[in-house]
Amino acid sequence: MKFGVVTFPGSNCDYDAYAAVRHVLGEEVEFLWHRSSDLLGVEVVILPGGFSYGDYLRAGAIARFSPLMEEVVRFAHSGGVVIGICNGFQVLTEVGLLPGALIRNRHLRFSCRYVHLRVERNDTCFTSACEKGEVMKMPIAHGEGNYYNFDGDISRLEDAGQVVFRYVDRDGNATQEANPNGSIRNIAGIVNAEGNVLGMMPHPERAVEEILGSVDGLKVFESIRSALLTPNLAGRH
């Protein structure tokens, strides 16, 4: 099974995602260069964290125009599995694969720390290894992770079950205090309507080994792997 990690200039979690897949999950993985138009036959595309093209205009706003992103969009539209982490989530909203926008954190500061997430659905190809309602511990590290969407769209998103992760306290309650950035309804991660594209602000690739403080993130990668082995979960190819 082959994963692909996109490297935009300014991506800086590309190696972390690569290492999580290669050294911890134990699957094959390739870097995908932003200027290329070749996905090298990968079955999963990871858009990693970082500051693509410096993010000087707006996070993810330039990356969406890269040649590789055209291919990624095509891949997603044909049912390919795509996960955007942090800056990758921002790119996915900019390119229109996911609804809404990530705006500046409520307190207007970058924030790096561990948070707790509640798994809202475990019938997606990103969470099948988790329990529904499970509380996972993962780090965040972002300045623009405040998920925003219009009221009507949020309701539709909720009704369609597209909210996959929510910021919660240790006991699983989606409180105001547990929300690190002001996201509407404590949203930390969403999927598209078809369920093959996930965007999340927390970093699962940073929570894959005990020495890093948590192994909960590994479940996201394990879920993707089992989904690909069970094609009806992963959608069409």
Partner: protein, 746 residues
């Protein structure tokens, strides 16, 4: 770019404006055998500035221990020091100040400080794995100080976060002496393979000299000279001397630089930091005992009409000077093209030892390269020293003047909420401390720990300096800074390897200031010898003063330690119910220079706590043995705030899993000394109940006192009959103070 350039007349006023004194000017004339022209004057001005030349510090710095079989570079000879850590790997690290720019433009000043030190690491062929910073400000009650703190923290965060290096440790200290002169010291640590360590050398006649990275603009001209003056009313006008950082370009430059080094395409490479092209070209040539010829008209510029003088002195960021192997130019260019970076051949190596600058073929400057650099023609001074007259008075306190508190619970809470002791999450959560997924211990323990991939080892790293000690007794203060840094490394499970230092002082021409500098360097040398941690390099920053006052003498130590087995990684927080708490070391009747006296009694004074380096060494050695034997579940250095604060931190510094403790301290010293005194060479350790006897035995065989204090557990901290506080109150005081200080609305 001007086609031709008419050099303005060099007058005595112009010489003075360039910060050169009459003797120095005479010396320049001797070197050249003629009067310098305007461009040459500018070059000498920056290269002989304190910042570049170390002219007032190098004589003393040379007395520091710089020997060690593990050192892979000569002290101060390369962009950063490199130390062998086995497995064919080297740790490359250095600390540097960016005080002056940050004082007037905190965001860019701090950001470019981080950028500069990162370049020093990766020009060595090392990939940066961690960034640390040591920050000092005036009182946060002052709105201007809050503006500086906010800007500096954002600047450090934005640069490091975007670049993709985890910022893992550091210090934040507040004292009025830093009101006008904040200290912003940035340290970076990288890892390289021995056989791929790059050098900052240009040699081999005809090898091309290439400028890579950003284009050259007018920013930062004379930044080095500016950093060699006191801060004054006019400093604000020097805001254009502050450079602008672009971490995105730096990240590209990192990847491209490591690639050309890995492929062995170059002879040498140097960052263009202070004094830009001038400094990098002359230093590289001097190291290679060669000359260099630069065609200034070929330098890619970002604005038109720049004079040779401006191009030579620009401190535009994210640029490197590379001496390419002849014939490899196209390969180098292809790599920079891939990363969308400029790479332009601007000159070549010559054999005449001269740094020659040409504009459209015409010589605009011609100076012996060696005459510009440290160890070459740069003047070397040893200034007069005079012990400050007020020191005796400051040191002399009578404890009877400081009545005991009535409510020690309240006192502890006030201490935990004080600016210098409270939790600094407000600061370090703005830094990405985890990117690159090697951070085993991030901010908030005695030292940060980064694992080394493909090995079973890790590096521990910390910065330290108690500047209040250094103010009252610079020699002992500097010793204590090293002892504490080493203690922090050992508490984390590491063996101290070597240090880098950042020496922040006032105007060296004032004998009282130079006394502090000389004494600090002497103390540092003594401690480094005793603890076997040589100095790999660092940075001196003088002129940290304004018309009111100078900063405390602040010799900041950055220390690296090696953790030989990941199992030895130790953190400061208490772990499990029933674990036994021990205190290593002696608590003496010492209250001088303490955070307690300053916070509770508003007094900075008294004798600095005694330090016996032999005892310190023994303590550290024995503790490391205990850790390696697996007897230690937590270890925490007792430092600022004393025993009570260290115990409280043990309880609550793992915010996710706080746990109480109950201890009995038996001692005849005054209660305030017992709880908050800062006697040196002390560590709190915990061990499981079953290992407790083994631990005491180990220490009874050494000369180090090891006292059983009590046990871990419960929901509160209890110390004798003096303190009984629920964890929730400790947490509230400790964790909320910084945001209450910083986010207040007036």
């Amino acid at each position: 770019m001007a086609e031709t350039f008419t050099q303005p007349q060099v007058t005595p006023e112009l010489v003075e404006k360039h910060g050169l004194n009459p003797e120095e000017y005479e010396r320049i004339k001797e070197i050249l055998g003629r009067e310098p022209n305007y461009t040459e004057l500018g070059i000498f001005s920056v290269m002989w500035s304190e910042h570049c030349s170390y002219k007032n510090s190098i004589a003393l710095l040379k007395t520091l221990p710089r020997e060690g079989e593990m050192l892979l570079t000569g002290t101060g000879e390369e962009n950063a020091g490199a130390v062998d850590i086995g497995d064919g790997l080297a740790v490359v690290f250095k600390i540097e100040s960016h005080n002056h720019p940050s004082a007037i433009e905190p965001y860019q000043g701090a950001a470019t400080g981080v950028g500069g030190i990162l370049r020093d690491i990766f020009t060595m062929g090392a990939r940066p794995i961690a960034s640390l910073n040591s920050l000092r400000f005036g009182s946060p009650d002052n709105p201007r100080v809050r503006y500086l703190v906010d800007g500096v923290v954002r600047g450090i965060g934005d640069y490091g976060n975007s670049f993709g290096v985890p910022t893992v440790a550091g210090e934040v200290f507040f004292d009025d002496s830093y009101t006008a002169n904040p200290l912003i010291n940035a340290m970076a640590v990288g890892i390289a393979k021995h056989d791929r360590l790059a050098t900052a050398t240009a040699k081999g006649e005809g090898n091309p000299i290439m400028m890579v990275g950003s284009k050259t603009g007018r920013d930062g001209i004379h930044g080095a000279t500016f950093a060699s003056e006191e801060i004054s009313e006019e400093s604000e006008e020097k805001r254009p001397s502050v450079q602008i950082g672009d971490p995105f370009t730096e990240k590209l430059l990192l990847e491209a630089t490591l690639e050309i080094i890995e492929k062995d395409l170059i002879i040498g490479i140097q960052d263009m930091g202070a004094a830009g092209l001038t400094c990098s070209s002359s230093e590289m040539a001097a190291r290679g005992k060669a000359g260099v010829e630069i065609h200034i008209d070929r330098v890619p510029v970002r604005e038109s009409g720049m004079t040779p003088y401006e191009i030579l002195l620009s401190e535009s960021q994210e640029r490197m000077l590379v001496c390419v192997r002849k014939g490899k130019e196209n390969e180098v260019r292809a790599i920079f093209d891939k990363w969308d970076l400029d790479s332009t051949i601007v000159g070549r190596v010559t054999s005449d030892g001269m740094m020659t600058v040409r504009l459209n073929g015409e010589i605009v400057s011609r100076i012996p390269a060696e005459s510009l650099v440290l160890g070459g023609g740069v003047p070397v001074y040893r200034r007069d020293t005079k012990r400050p007259a007020n020191l005796d008075e400051l040191m002399n306190i009578d404890l009877r003047d400081y009545p005991l508190e009535r409510d020690w619970n309240d006192t502890l809470l006030r201490m935990l909420a004080s600016p210098n002791l409270c939790h600094k999450g407000w600061v370090f959560e703005q830094y990405d401390s985890m990117v690159r997924t090697n951070t085993a211990v991030g901010p908030g323990s005695d030292a940060a720990v980064l694992r080394l991939r493909k090995t079973n080892k890790a590096l521990a790293m910390a910065t330290d300096c108690n500047a209040r000690y250094c103010y009252l007794n610079p020699r002992l203060g500097a010793q204590s800074a090293i002892a504490e840094a080493a203690r922090n490394i050992v508490c984390s499970g590491g063996k101290p390897l070597a240090i880098t230092n950042c020496l922040n002082f006032g105007n060296p021409y004032k004998p009282e200031i130079y006394y502090g500098f000389a004494e600090s360097v002497a103390g540092m040398g003594e401690a480094c010898r005793a603890l076997d941690t040589p100095v790999t390099g660092g940075n001196v920053s003088f002129y940290n003063e304004d018309p009111q006052r100078a900063v405390f003498p602040t010799p900041v130590i950055g220390m690296i330690g090696l953790i030989e087995n990941l199992k030895h990684i130790t953190t400061q927080w208490f772990k499990d119910e029933g674990d036994v708490i021990f205190l290593l070391g002696e608590t003496k009747e010492e209250l001088g220079a303490s955070e307690y006296l300053c916070t509770i009694h508003d007094h900075t004074g008294g004798p600095v706590p005694h330090l016996d380096l032999e005892v310190e060494k023994k303590l550290q050695e024995t503790l490391l043995v205990a850790i390696r034997r697996g007897l230690v579940k937590s270890a925490h250095d007792v430092s600022d705030g004393g025993l009570a604060v260290a115990l409280a931190e043990g309880c609550i510094s793992n915010r996710q899993l706080p746990i109480g403790a109950s201890v009995q301290l038996d001692s005849s010293v005054r209660v305030d000394c017992l709880l908050f005194g800062e006697s040196q060479s002390r560590v709190i350790v915990t061990t499981s109940a079953q290992d407790a006897d083994q631990l005491s035995e180990l220490f009874s065989d050494s000369s180090i006192t090891c006292k059983r204090l009590g046990t871990v557990g419960g929901e509160s901290l209890r110390i004798n009959e003096l303190i009984d506080l629920p964890l929730t109150r400790l947490i509230d005081a400790y964790y909320n103070a910084m945001s209450q200080l910083m986010d207040r609305v007036e």
